[in-house]
Amino acid sequence: MKRDLSSAFLAVALMAALGLLLLGPVEAARHEEHRGRGHEAPHGGVLNVIGKELAHVEILLEGDTLEAWFLSGGHDTGLSVRIKAAEIPLKVTFPGKGEMKLILRAAPLKLAGEKIGNCSHFTAKADWLRGAREFEAKGGVVIKGIREGLIIRYPGGYDPIHGTKDH
């Protein structure tokens, strides 16, 4: 009787272990899904925080063209923020090379119903941007009615609160 009971207990324990073994990968996969969700740059560019997470500017450098999209703050990087400025002047510093001037010009997204003066997308073109590997650009912008400094760091992005990695 005693032997039968201990056998039964062992059998149940083995079955339970098997069940846990099967569930383990399922739980691990679920945890994997929830890990690593940070701010996403909707165009595959680099995010730079404006103010205290008031907004973001995403920049993408391709060839001699720099594109910038103004996006909402926090985790709402999928929402655009329109600004009134038609141009945004920037001072661009290359490490060890000095300073250049660059002007971001409004390039309205027509399908978003944007116009110059109510626009979230800007572009700038310059020969010296071609092949640029690292730079910092500074300027200023009025966004959501507030005048804020603009700091753009490429390729690492700018986030003084959380650091440059995803959070």
Binding site: M15, L18, E33, P42, H43, K110, L111, A112
Partner: protein, 416 residues
């Protein structure tokens, strides 16, 4: 007497408990097989084919609602978009084809989709496959031309018993009790050949007809004449592809721009539907957990019945040992019984699982138009036999060890 004869004789002696063990294991495995198969086929049907639509231009609202309505003729479209906006999108260099449509009518329980005629003549619902009315392929008649003409998808035609030249009054709405356009008579001029897609489950009329139906208010009828005033429910979009067949990466930028507008959005079905499966994925997990528990319980039942049978057979096994059977042979007898029961349960479960899918598929297709097949071989099917062997060995292990350790003298001593 050979080894296997002894095993079979023992199974026959305990046939009641053996049959019960086979049945309980079959039920658990059948449920596992059915859930896995339906899960994999659902994923394949709803995410991989795309039904020829790379993206849907629609109004602001739930992206899932838009996909379910535009592709599966379920739910309602959450609003309308301007025709002029559709034209702007159509002109974008990334768009290869844009087919506008307007929904909101029904007949006999099937949705009536007012759509651009290019849908029937140029649209590919699968790569290289366009809708056909050819009799050889199971269709009849032709595509609609005049505004009082209509065509039916194959499932809709079969369910409603439609024939060419049949006439109908469309219902202004998709729910029971919605008003009927009594003064508008449309005639079926074509029945589409079956495609095995949800397109078979709808009726189609010219887009222009939507605005001209007499029962509509003046502002809707004005849309027939005034393009600047016109609205549609949405448009099916085909996007440029790059080498390898992937969507042009520019689609994300186009999607971003359109989604920033006040009234419109672009929805990519292959991005939305996997999220639906993530949300309802817990249903699969619960069902799989139930099936897993049933299977483990079946294995436990097998274990206890082997243990009980061993208690009854101690004397017989001791006798076998006394005439020369080794400990390993006796252990093997018990393990073999367990394996045979588990394998029978596994095979029965596999068969029963596919029968369950066949029955379920009939109802799913009737309700959604989506094809499921009982012949689909899922990843669970490959695991059934090895799994059954493993469970059989596991359930028989402890009774087998007990049989191995059976004392000959002790169990042969007289019982009085």
């Amino acid at each position: 007497m050979s080894f296997w004869r002894i095993v079979l004789r023992s199974l026959r002696q305990h046939r009641f408990s053996s049959i019960l063990a086979v049945i309980s294991m079959a039920i658990g495995i059948a449920l596992l097989v059915a859930v896995y198969s339906l899960k994999e086929q659902t994923h394949r049907n709803f995410t991989q084919t795309g039904l020829g639509v790379d993206a849907i231009l629609g109004p602001k609202g739930s992206p899932l609602q838009i996909v379910l309505n535009a592709l599966y003729h379920l739910e309602d479209m959450p609003g309308r978009i301007k025709w002029t906006y559709y034209q702007e999108v159509e002109r974008d260099p990334l768009i290869v084809q844009a087919i506008p449509f307007a929904v909101g009518h029904s007949y006999g329980g099937f949705r009536v989709n007012a759509i651009d005629p290019r849908f029937l003549t140029e649209f590919e619902y699968l790569p290289g496959k366009r809708f056909s009315f050819s009799e050889q392929e199971g269709g009849q008649g032709r595509a609609f031309g005049a505004t009082n003409e209509a065509v039916a998808g194959w499932v809709a035609a079969k369910t409603l018993g439609l024939k060419l030249k049949d006439e109908f009054h469309p219902v202004c709405g998709v729910y029971e009790g919605d008003p009927v356009h009594e003064t508008d008579v449309l005639r079926f001029v074509g029945i589409m050949a079956p495609t095995g897609t949800p397109y078979d489950r709808a009726l189609y009329i010219p887009l222009e007809t939507f605005y001209l139906l007499a029962g509509h208010p003046a502002e809707t009828q004005k849309m027939a004449r005034d393009v600047g005033y016109r609205e549609i429910s949405g448009a099916y979009l085909k996007v440029k592809r790059i080498r390898g067949g992937a969507l042009h990466p520019g689609i994300q930028g186009l999607k971003y721009a359109i989604n920033q507008s006040d009234r419109n959005q672009v929805v990519i079905p292959n991005e939305v539907l996997p999220r639906l499966f993530d949300i309802i994925g817990w249903v699969d997990r619960v069902l799989l957990a139930i099936a897993g528990i049933l299977t483990i319980l079946a294995a436990l039942f097998l274990f206890f019945s082997l243990l009980s049978a061993l208690r009854e057979r101690r004397r017989d096994l001791a006798l076998l040992r006394s005439i020369g059977a080794t400990r390993r042979t006796v252990m093997g007898l018990v393990l073999s019984e367990s394996l045979i029961i588990a394998l029978l349960g596994g095979l029965s479960g596999l068969f029963l699982g596919h029968v369950l899918i066949g029955v379920g598929a009939h109802f799913i297709k009737a309700e959604t138009g989506v094809d499921f097949t009982s012949g689909y071989v899922s990843s669970a099917d490959w695991a059934v036999l090895p799994g059954a062997v493993f469970l059989g060995l596991l359930a028989g292990l402890l009774p087998g060890i007990q049989a191995y350790r059976l004392g000959v003298l002790k169990n042969l001593s007289p019982v009085s």
